[in-house]
Symmetry: C2
Subunit: 407 residues, 2 copies
């Protein structure tokens, strides 16, 4: 089917979401069925507002540079389509610009949106292909072995935790606690990933708190006391989404700044809450590190494997659509961990949408405060392999920015 | 003079303090005048407590690995010597172990301590050489062009700010503020260093708040409003040590956990205070990133120039002491910025001790909320040049740990 394609990015930025866009663009440029290659500014908002730019007008070097540029070069959004008017509007824009291929790079909510757009187009009899490309640092998408963005965020965050662990070891204080807060709303994949920092038992992180396990104050404090008794220092990793047994977020109240349009609470404050608790109950010197969004953009230490897979999935989405497949998301099927082998396939968008995949309970150990490193490593080590060789100028990584030639 | 040498580390860890130790050890191993090469656990505390280990017993590969290991491999301290008894104790330990060369790697307080030990040894008639090796991410030591540790911390922090800037640019929110808190108690060198992230005007960081400039609420809020009006997003870098016109720290009260033994307040909380202010007064969506001690240990993206200079200064300290010089600190004299040329020299410890070098007021612009990038770049760019090629295993940097063979 001849027509134009539209690529959009949605949800939280990652180090490699632009690598997926690059793969999709470069693949689309190879095929005559795809005439125009467009990008949408800020996800579906750019469709609703007709903020659409021509990617073929960009310098090919800029497109290639997307592989080394973190964040979302197209702009992103968290807009939830609710009314029929919005869906109609989207279809009318597709018709107007003869969009026959739509590639949406995003997480749970975005794949749900893609699915609904696919269904609306079907029922409206508008012929097009909708293919989702997975992306989320949270690694919580159902139906794929892992998500592009995850390998890079845990590589960087585990490096941080290893480095903070060395800082902690150097301290002369007899009781010192360092708390590092990671992203992860409902799934503890990122916090769990920092277990890779530990080269030997007794090294950081000493405690990992996941949203999958309800936080029990006394159990936690006893564990901190035990660690301080034996090692004098304690490094704690806490996922921002950890909740107590009543279901309240640890940081709730303190830094909560409301909810987004999907009804998700904006988190942050778990480390503060733990710091206060440890200081009050144990009287240990406590510091908190809250890198927050720093970690999801760490292109200067991103995973080459992750980046390569993100790129491949962008390409695969295009060939999939050209093969007349629609209403699916690209996914990764792992064939083997040692040696690491995988293949790309697709799953129906309807199976992915809004199903969160949390961290496996059988990989959690130590009363819910640690990870079974051997099991988890087999899964995670292939994902953090290699370092993206980002272009450096004057000592710093050089990203590209799209010119955005609006049509 | 034949005798043993003792090397110790003090103050906050950095990415390259171990490189200086490595340089000193490897140089000392070349000279027959130096018989035993010892390290002291946790700075002068290890001398007071006779926790002294034999560095010649370490695997030479471990010693070489110190160049790729952040934090303080010997352990550090912030102990202030106060009583005559403590000085006498130190001299008696030096006598006991025939320590004739003492190398103290540290910042302001540590150089003051080194100076006092030097004076006490002189007046006690104990023949020895005391040479300080500068180290501080804060870059606030007097008498040297810059301090080992500074180049690496600003390289890493500027990369972070550039990456957060891209995250900010991608946002669809019309009013979004990101606040990044950096270290820097009294000197704004680290916060100022993030100006290097800006490739073009209008890019992050939009505002840089330094401890050298008293914080004026209305001026700040007006600037944030202006930036949001024109660019919709605003990235603010704030030094932890920023004070208001009354001299109170921005974060005071909130996260203050007391004072260390030098009487310095433990800071952290400036970003929280600004977040609250911006949310209340401007009602913009605001996030804070507080990497805290993460940044001073960023070996995975450390400056090769910084690391090489740290190593050289360790070596130079040893040759200086062997040339019968004592009571001095190694310093860097810049000969030229373009091309970058420098030479190592020494200055009397008494001139360094307890004199803080703050960020030059003539390099501050924009009503105290930005840095004159051209002037500052000329100074700073040579310091962030090159990336330390840290050994990687299983996707993560591999540090070394000393065995510490106590004598």
């Amino acid at each position: 089917m001849k027509g134009n394609c539209l690529i959009a990015q949605s949800g939280g930025p990652t180090a490699v979401i632009n690598a997926s866009a690059c793969g999709a663009i470069q693949e689309a440029q190879k095929h005559q069925e795809i005439t125009g290659i467009y990008g949408s500014e800020n996800g579906i908002l750019g469709i609703l507002n007709e903020r659409i730019f021509d990617l073929n007008k960009e310098d090919p070097k800029t497109i290639e540079g997307l592989r080394y540029t973190p964040s979302s070069a197209f702009g992103t959004c968290r807009h939830k389509l609710t009314s029929d008017e919005e869906y109609d509007r989207i279809l009318s824009v597709f018709r107007k610009y003869d969009i026959r291929y739509f590639f949406y790079i995003g997480g749970n909510d975005s794949q749900d949106t893609a699915n609904k757009i696919y269904q609306k187009a079907e029922s409206a009899g508008y012929e097009m292909r909708v293919v989702g490309i997975p992306k989320t640092v949270d690694n919580d998408l159902w139906g794929t072995d892992h998500c592009p963005g995850y390998g890079s965020v845990i590589k960087y965050t585990a490096a941080m935790v290893r480095e903070v662990g060395l800082d902690s070891e150097a301290s002369y204080s007899s009781d010192q606690v360092n708390i590092i807060e990671t992203m992860g709303r409902n799934a503890g994949w990122i916090a769990a990933g920092t277990a890779l920092a530990r080269q030997m038992p007794g090294q950081a992180p000493d405690i990992i708190l996941l949203p999958e396990v309800p936080f029990i104050k006394e159990k936690f404090l006893n564990k901190v006391r035990d660690i301080l008794d034996s090692r004098k220092k304690c490094v704690i990793v806490v996922s921002e989404g950890v909740k107590d047994t009543s279901g309240a977020y640890l940081g709730e109240g303190s830094d909560d700044v409301g909810t987004d349009s999907f009804g998700h609470k904006q988190l942050g404050g778990a480390a503060s809450a733990l710091k206060e608790l440890v200081e009050q109950e144990i009287r240990a010197k406590t510091r908190q590190c809250r890198p927050s969004i720093i970690n999801r953009n760490g292109m200067h230490f991103a995973s080459e494997q992750d980046s390569a897979e993100a790129y491949e999935q962008g390409k695969f989405a295009v060939t999939t659509a050209l093969n007349s497949t629609s209403g699916v998301m690209v996914s990764i099927e792992r064939l083997s961990s040692v040696p690491y082998e995988y293949r790309l396939r697709t799953i129906p968008l309807g199976d992915v949408a809004n199903t969160e995949r949390t961290f496996p309970l059988e990989w959690i150990s130590d009363g819910g405060m640690d990870v079974k490193l051997e099991l988890f490593s087999e899964y995670a080590l292939p994902l953090i392999r290699g370092e993206v060789q980002v272009p450096i100028q004057d000592g710093l990584p050089v990203p590209v920015r799209l010119q955005r030639f609006f049509i």
